[in-house]
């Protein structure tokens, strides 16, 4: 079971209370986790990754296991601790704006 933690405004948008737990088929990567997340919560499409390019939105970051994975390939395997569910995959809003 993959655990995903979203920023508050996206939890509100998707009506999510707390952490998301997802079943991911095949390799556990940023792409497969976010695909599974958007399949369950279609309203999140376009809010984490841009619609056309599929790229991470500039002011969001991906963290796990105290590492910044934002610049990793979306198809790179996520850490074992994320795959096992010991650690969550974190989508974090940048500290910016007013």
């Amino acid at each position: 079971m993959i655990r995903v933690w979203l920023p508050g405004h996206l939890r509100t948008l998707a009506n999510i209370d707390g952490e998301v737990q997802l079943e991911v088929q095949g390799a556990v990567t940023q792409r497969s986790v976010l695909d599974a997340l958007e399949l369950r919560y279609p309203m999140l499409k376009g809010t984490i990754r841009e619609h056309v390019t599929g790229k991470r939105r500039s002011f969001l970051r991906f963290f796990a296991c105290q590492e910044d994975l934002s610049h990793e390939s979306p198809d790179a395997p996520l850490p074992d601790a994320v795959v096992s569910g010991a650690e969550p995959f974190l989508v974090v809003g940048a500290i910016a704006g007013g």
């Binding site: 405004h9 509100t12 948008l13 309203m43 809010t47 984490i48 841009e50 002011f59 940048a94 704006g97």
Partner: protein, 371 residues
């Protein structure tokens, strides 16, 4: 008795203000979508409880929300705005070509006849349409493909399509305005467009009477007379009596002809309202006095409306989508400020009162008159 519902978009959420036809006592609901920029909220004229809202943030991009119960509950609908074909380039601030990039929806305009049809004006400027209640959006690419698109340039607020006017007498005719490209009209329901900027004069562009490049801030019409258009340009208040084919200036005795909003009294097609702003560098009212100016002669002769508005030390702005009128008799006029006030006049502008004073900066104000 009729009721009114005022839909307010702010930098940090949406608010819904309701009252009966006296417009004296108000119920305030919100913030809805707290923390998000709410550029515009508007209801369907044929099904008033059907509302559409543009919700966006720098972090998470664009969301479109829809309500079927007048804003009590909402559901996110489609947010995929993709330019048709090769997106191409427009001019960047430095004059170099810059790829067209979707940023946000500035304005949502529900159809006059079908609650599931809604138009969207977006940044970078383009015109989109949904026929399924906002689930799916298609660009009508004839506007960007008009030929002048590569010469369009953003204004300071971005290259936004901010105004959409549907002609109630001709379903194929639509007017739009873009900062800083100008005004355009389609007579075939959005397939092809022509610029309608003849008569505009803008000193800040290399060719002041160019076909495109004018920073039009807002246009307005009265539903009984859709060939008459009123425009607040960056500088200059303008009027057209031939559906935009030609314009002439009606700034008259205004203290400054810079501003953003313009609107038409719902009962008197020759009565129009603007809020003069000091200059493009000083986005606040001249002399620190917040004054709505009303012309009852279709322009040129203006009177200051001040009763109930702050007449000292007021340095707010009134943004382009932040004025609206109801259709009661007497006509109600509403506007919101960057200081978070929403003012109402229930007597066509003679007297004003704040409905709320301390909202986040107001981006847009719309009003529904409900039977």
């Amino acid at each position: 008795m009729s009721n009114v519902r005022v839909l307010v978009g702010t930098r940090k959420g949406a608010f819904i203000l309701t009252s009966d036809g006296k417009r004296e006592h108000w119920n305030v609901s919100g913030p809805h979508f707290a923390g998000w920029e709410m550029y515009h909220i508007k209801g369907s004229p044929v099904e008033p409880n059907r509302l559409y809202a543009s919700q966006s943030s720098a972090w998470s991009g664009q969301v479109i929300q829809r309500s079927n119960d007048g804003g009590q509950t909402w559901e996110p609908v489609g947010n995929k705005f993709v330019y048709e074909g090769v997106a191409g380039t427009h001019q960047w601030y430095d004059g170099t070509p810059h790829p067209w990039e979707f940023k946000r929806v500035w304005h949502l305009e529900p159809s006059l006849t079908d609650p599931d049809t809604v138009y969207a004006g977006v940044e970078d400027a383009a015109f989109f349409k949904s026929t399924d209640g906002g689930q799916n959006w298609q660009e009508l690419p004839g506007l960007r493909g008009h030929g002048s698109g590569p010469r369009w340039q953003p204004g300071a607020g971005g290259m936004c399509l901010h105004t959409i006017l549907l002609d109630p007498s001709n379903p194929d005719r639509i007017f739009i305005a873009i900062s800083a490209a100008g005004a355009f009209r389609t007579d075939d329901a959005g397939q092809t467009w022509q610029p309608i900027n003849k008569g505009l004069h803008s000193e800040f562009i290399p060719e002041p009477t160019a076909e495109v490049g004018h920073c039009v801030h807002r246009i307005a019409l009265h539903k009984s007379r859709p060939n008459v258009l009123f425009m607040q340009k960056h500088w200059d208040v303008m009027r057209s009596d031939d559906a935009g084919d030609s314009w002439h200036e009606i700034s008259g005795n205004l203290p400054t002809d810079f501003g953003f909003v313009i609107d038409v009294n719902a009962n008197e097609p020759e009565t129009i309202y603007v809020v003069p702003i000091k200059s493009d560098a000083e986005h606040f009212p001249p002399e620190g006095k917040l004054r709505v100016y009303r012309s009852r002669t279709g322009g040129n002769e203006w009177e200051a409306l001040t009763n109930g508005l702050p007449q000292s030390d007021c340095y707010v702005n009134v943004l382009r989508d932040a004025m609206a009128v109801d259709s009661l008799d007497k006509c109600g006029v509403y506007f919101g400020t960057t200081g978070g006030q929403v003012y109402v006049s229930s007597d066509a502008g003679d007297n004003w009162a704040p409905i709320v004073r301390d909202l986040p900066a107001v981006l847009s104000v719309e009003v529904q008159t409900l039977e």
